[in-house]
Amino acid sequence: MPDGTTGTGIGAAVKRVEDFRFLTGKGNYTDDINRPGQSYAYILRSPHAHAKITSIDSSAAKAAAGVLAVFTGEDMQVGSLPCGWQIHSKDGSPMLEPEHPPLAKGKVRYVGDQVAVVIADTYSQAKDAAESIVVNYEVLPAAVSMSDALTDKSLVHDDIGSNLCFDWEIGDEAAVDEAMSKAAHITKIDLVNNRLVPNAMEPRAAVGEFDAATGEYTLYTTSQNPHVIRLLMGAFVLSIPEHKLRVVAPDVGGGFGSKIYHYAEEAIVTWAAPKIGRPIKWVADRSEAFISDAHGRDQINHAELALDANGKFLALKVQTQANMGAYLSTFAPCVPTYLSATLLAGTYTTPAIHANVKAIFTNTVPVDAYRGAGRPESTYLIERIVDQAARETGIDKVEIRRRNFIPADAFPYQTPVALQYDSGDYEATLSSATKIADVAGFAARKAEAASRGKLRGMGYSTYLEACGIAPSAVVGSLGARAGLYESAEVRVHPTGSVTVFTGTHSHGQGHETTFAQLVSDRLGLPMENIEISHGDTNKVQFGMGTYGSRSLAVGGEALIRAVDKIIDKAKKIAAHVLEASADDIEFKDGNFTVAGTDRSMAFGEVALTAYVPHNFPHDELEPGLDEKAFYDPANFTYPGGCHICEVEIDPETGVTEVIKFTAVDDVGRVINPMIVEGQVHGGVAQGIGQALLEYAAYDDSGQLVTGSFMDYTMPRADNFPKFDVTTEGTLCTHNTLGVKGVGEVGAIGSPPAVINAVIDALWDRGVRDMSMPATPEKVWSALQAAE
């Protein structure tokens, strides 16, 4: 919805101010931070998926050149890495929550599990010395697949007695069964949501430091939420009070969820720094990232959709198995439950929904939120089963969606799975996408492709998601062990320039631009007078960080509220100086004016007066111009839209080419259309990556066989056409900006559009199903099998 505004206000396509330093190598990433006397840590990791540690002999490593210390799990007696979300099973019992030591104690549970840390003068010395650590393992059978794990033949955690972490449900099962019994047709589908490796461009890194003079710890880390890390690590793992623990997340090169969590390495370098009396740096190499960053997705779903004779959805029943990996990562339990099953209505009026989710421990890397976090899984399920239902009932796939859309006049709309959508117009985005994608010309394009021996297909996804995470009261009642408000401080300096402290964190999203635009728009100041500060717990008030497309909808709203407090205060100052009532002061274009007069003060004059209060009535008016706001949203936000993918398949080789990708997304008000387009673009790229290329594969022994870029197929520019990205639609009704969030829509909406297109292309050749990723070999094999 860019309104064509020029300048730097809301709706202007301002070039990202942070990009100059990123593009010229002047960014300040964690690995760029080098502290005086710094040493280096190398983490020795488990080569086995599941084994008892019978002994560790690190004497040779300790004697090796340059080595300062070697620590194992026996040395590091600290708290367990905590889980931030508690789920209760349907019988009311709390989820099983195993201990998660930063360094393994007695047992390793996945290939990559931390066994020991070697700290040396150089990284090479630490790495070389680690080779001389003799670890005796008694290798145990590994529970690699979820089906193996569910038999409990091999327990990932002996002490909790089961691999079933929780068995949760949502919705009215009786109502669903009742509707199913009356259905004219029931469509059934089995799906796998492939496991993904996040692969942010910057691998994780951490620098731990201890100041013996003050007793203060500092952790520099690649985090999306430094305050959350300070709280989790300080309070739960290392027992360091927050006023003695500073966490800095400087420039961070991509997160996609994988840098939300509190990781062992952060605790290890912070804990060990005072022990050796020197700062310690740890930086993951790419191979290490593959086996130590939390993975994404990894669900198996069975779903049944009941329809009446007119193709109206009556009920949806879903059984999901969700892989937790070997330990509970920080937010893992909420992903398949409250971030996924609550979205199963999608954009449709399905009146009865029931979902059962079994979360399962396996001997694999922990799985947690990854761009979209639960919503791609539910969206993939809904949009696949809706397409399947259309084919089975003979109703056109667009028509069946239209018949079931929540109408634009039905908002606020209460779904049967907890959420209440505030706004949306799914017909409008579908209709626009249909025009932009030239659906009318598809038949001719398909015929032309056929003349070249190629198979064309078109696939739809009319998706919806819930983001702007999150109303604290709601998530608290659902098991979150945190509030999910956001904070901002607007500090106006005496000369009228402004520093904003935001509790969100930018790791590629462009907050330094978008947030400065908000302030520029509201205060009428030039962008260069506004500085956005984030990522340092010693500078910024408590904030919850960035994930779940929350920065603008929650953090931006907090910022606007702080700005409005600034304006209120400034009006009082101007009223005092101009000898008028504050109620009579109008603020426009950076000037405070007494209504109906030419008596006026510029913003800068007010700022200076605030700090030079020579004749303030101090009982009525405090000096200074510095305001703070905490904002807790009333609801999630609900972006949605329509993605249409057109593919062409070479039946001889099975190669799928994405020919055209159209995204029309309703993300609420757009602050910076260029950044919004970039976010959708990146999300779609990740979604197509999941659909066609990416898959984290384990062998039967629990080795990650796609553990490098040689084997794990990251998408690249030449895998894509130019995407047609448009935004339009409705405003969020419960924040004043009307914004919904855009960070995840691309990754949420696109995978089913791609797979539906692939199936559409292959349908006439008898192929009826396709799983992600639709690799050439898989497509080719499906064609052979169908012949």
């Binding site: 070389d128 290329l693 796609t706 040689m710 084997d711 690249r716 070999e777 080719w780 094999s781």
Partner: protein, 289 residues
């Protein structure tokens, strides 16, 4: 880390002497795009590195008296790309070599290194095999010439004797209306390992193919010369029946493995598909030349 000796001799005799004297503890360094990666990953720990790039013959591109090309074993893909005529005569050899890696890697990586690394999926080798290229090697016992297809003997293994260094490739002179092409099938488009690679070199007389050589990569423990496929093409007009026969010969020659990049059935079938497509490109180029 143990000490590593590094030498960069300026003559071939010195290089062979140093390499042979190290008795297997030495590794040859050309572009280093395999060796340095293997060293960093701890897969190899050479006591001596013999850098051959300072030896003039190994970095030279020359015309042979017969009118062919002699390419030094250490010549990088980027250097070969800039040669004024090589790419016009052997576009398939060049496209195979320059499918390897990114632009930066192409500035270092050589066909010689690609051959000696011994990967069945080496992208530059099918083109050289189809070209009928001869490898010249020199060791303590002197110099010998062998067809390129006889150099690899299995994954990571070559027929080079201890102390022998690959010196150059000699490509034969080209009759008029000859050309070649290389295609590969991979999970994506670059910087990955081929599932199937296919090179075809052809000479055309009007619409009739008068000479052909066909080579396949990644479908057997070594790069293959597929003589039956070539026979099926020679003295035909490259009609559908001949192409089907050649494709079947390619599929029959395959002896691949099942792995995460492709199954046996898939690689076997795609080998035939690629044969047809590569032949079409080579024929088009040959008619134009």
């Amino acid at each position: 880390m143990t000490d590593i000796q590094y030498v960069a001799p300026s003559t071939l005799d010195e290089a062979v002497g140093a390499y042979a004297a190290a008795k297997g503890a030495a590794r040859i360094l050309a572009g280093g795009t395999d060796l340095l990666v293997q060293m960093r990953a701890g897969m190899v720990k050479p006591g001596l590195i013999v850098d051959i790039k300072k030896v003039a013959e190994l970095s030279a591109i020359e015309k042979t008296p017969e009118g062919g090309f002699r390419i030094g074993a250490a010549v990088s893909g980027a250097v070969l790309e800039e040669h004024p005529t090589f790419g016009k005569v052997w576009p398939g050899v060049l496209e195979g070599l320059n499918l390897i890696g990114s632009t930066q890697v192409q500035g270092r990586a050589s066909a010689g290194g690609n051959l000696c690394n011994g990967s069945p999926a080496a992208d530059s080798i099918p083109g050289l095999v189809a070209a009928g290229a001869i490898a010249t090697v020199q060791g303590p016992n002197g110099r010998r010439n062998i067809p390129v297809e006889q150099v690899p003997t299995g994954p990571g293994k070559t027929s080079l004797a201890p102390g022998e260094i690959l010196v150059s490739f000699t490509l034969p002179p080209r009759p008029a209306h000859s050309s070649d092409a290389y295609l590969r099938m991979i999970p994506r488009t670059e910087m990955d390992i081929a599932v199937v690679g296919c090179a075809v070199s052809l000479t055309m007389d009007g619409d009739t193919c008068t000479a052909a050589r066909v080579s396949l990569g990644a479908v057997a423990p070594t790069v293959l010369l597929v003589e039956d496929a070539a026979k099926a093409l020679v003295l035909t007009k490259l009609d559908d029946a001949s192409l089907d026969k050649a494709a079947a010969a390619c599929s029959a020659a395959c002896n691949p493995i099942d792995d995460k990049r492709g199954t046996i059935a898939y690689r076997t079938k795609v080998a035939g598909v690629l044969l047809k497509r590569t032949t079409a490109i080579a024929a088009e180029r040959a008619k134009g030349g």
